[in-house]
Symmetry: C2
Subunit: 233 residues, 2 copies
DNA sequence: ATTCGTCAAGAGCGGTGCTCTCGTTTCTTC
DNA sequence: GAAGAAACGAGAGCACCGCTCTTGACGAAT
């Protein structure tokens, strides 16, 4: 390819970006169901069919938004993880949990796109899985590093993971290298617990039930962290 | 009202029921987004406008389905709770968790309607909240009864709930009567953890990540139960 | 027997995703 | 620099959607 792109390529990239920007704004207002190609086109002063020059279908536009969303959430989580001292594993866990919650509450519809019910008829393509792993990789890294540092003192309260799960544990060890089976599944429980809470909060399940949600959340993820043996320094 | 309903009332009730049945079937196939009044009407051999004699809007039909869903899930959970010995609290917790998961996997779209991302533009009316509490009431009852029976030996691993949460704890005590603050929030964590897992499984988040999902689920809810101090008898 | 409420049907409104064609513009190649 | 190829925006149109309004038929109560 040539070093300097042609004018056409530049305007194409710019229009593509403008489409996703407008779409993201509409998504933030109306949610995934309200995302309309025609409305995007209208706002751009284009005719609806012109959008199809840039995105072959509504689903492809959705895919672009999903990838952007995973990257935005992943970046927020990574940044929160870097903020504190690397040896304070409990603090990193807490910071990262808050980063997920804060991002989700700030971008509820984008979060819904990532972790909510799948959009009917939409099938996430391969391209999304790379970005999808950014946030979970951070969690895995914390657990893994904490374990290697000998900072985990997990309480013994549940029966050990059955042998049937060892294959899955091997898979999950790609995310939490070096961690023994039992801790792998405690990590999984903490992870699903975290997102379970955030889901409930974003989807309005705590309405009229819980007021001090930030405090409640922190209490919950502290408990989940203690499950892993993450004790505050 | 008269003891015997008129023929008109009977046929009306029957048609209403037929509409919800067809709608539920379409929901099961296509999901909430694919639920179309016109398609329901087509399947009934009616014209679309006739449906509006029975449901003033699509949202009202959705509401009917949601209430039915809460009741179906609630009934399944209640039945699972009654199946075992009342004194085996750990067993009841496990059975009830499996009941939630089994029902959700058997009716993924209905479950999505209840615990997934909110349907865009739809606002759940007051009538749904009664049915909505059926399943959670069962969980609360188990925790409450186990505590009163002295069957809970919660491990001390997390800091106690902060004072700011005592108001919320009072609210939640309606569901878990007699339970102290700390256990209230452990119960909340276990509850969100359970639904967090089921959400991930129903929404496809475990695809290519976890194979033995039933075993993994059981391991997870066992751990969450241990958090509450629920030890197998 | 007549009135009155209920009902299904039909036409129609504004919206959607998407396809196809058509004339124009831009880039590439000779 | 001219010719061909590729990309592009506009427009019309298809089938679908939720929803509204009107019309005519039917059944129940007076």
């Amino acid at each position: 390819m040539t070093a300097s792109r042609t004018a056409r390529e530049r305007v194409r990239a710019e229009l593509t970006r403008e489409i996703t920007d407008i779409a993201r704004r509409q998504l933030a207002i109306e949610g995934a169901g309200g995302l309309s190609l025609r409305a995007v086109a209208r706002e751009m002063g284009m005719v609806s069919s012109a959008i199809y020059r840039y995105f072959p279908s509504r689903d492809d536009l959705l895919t672009a938004l999903i990838i952007d969303g995973y990257n935005a959430l992943g970046a927020a989580v990574e940044e929160a993880d870097k903020a504190g001292p690397p040896g304070d594993f409990a603090g990193r866990w807490l910071a990262v949990c808050h980063a997920v919650r804060d991002w989700a509450l700030a971008h509820p519809h984008e979060y819904t796109l990532l972790y909510g019910s799948p959009v009917p008829g939409y099938q996430a393509p391969e391209e999304t899985i790379e970005a999808r792993l950014r946030d979970v990789a951070v969690f895995g890294r914390i657990v893994s590093q904490a374990y290697e540092a000998g900072a985990l003192t997990p309480p013994d309260l549940a029966p050990p993971a059955p042998a049937a799960l060892s294959g899955d544990a091997d898979n999950l060890r790609q995310i939490m290298p070096g961690v023994p089976d039992d801790l792998i599944f405690r990590g999984l429980t903490a992870w699903t617990g975290l997102y379970g809470w955030v889901n409930f909060e974003v989807f309005g399940q705590f309405e009229n039930t819980l007021e001090e949600r930030r405090d409640g959340f922190e209490q919950s993820v502290r408990t989940l962290g203690a499950l892993l043996g993450l004790r505050p320094v």
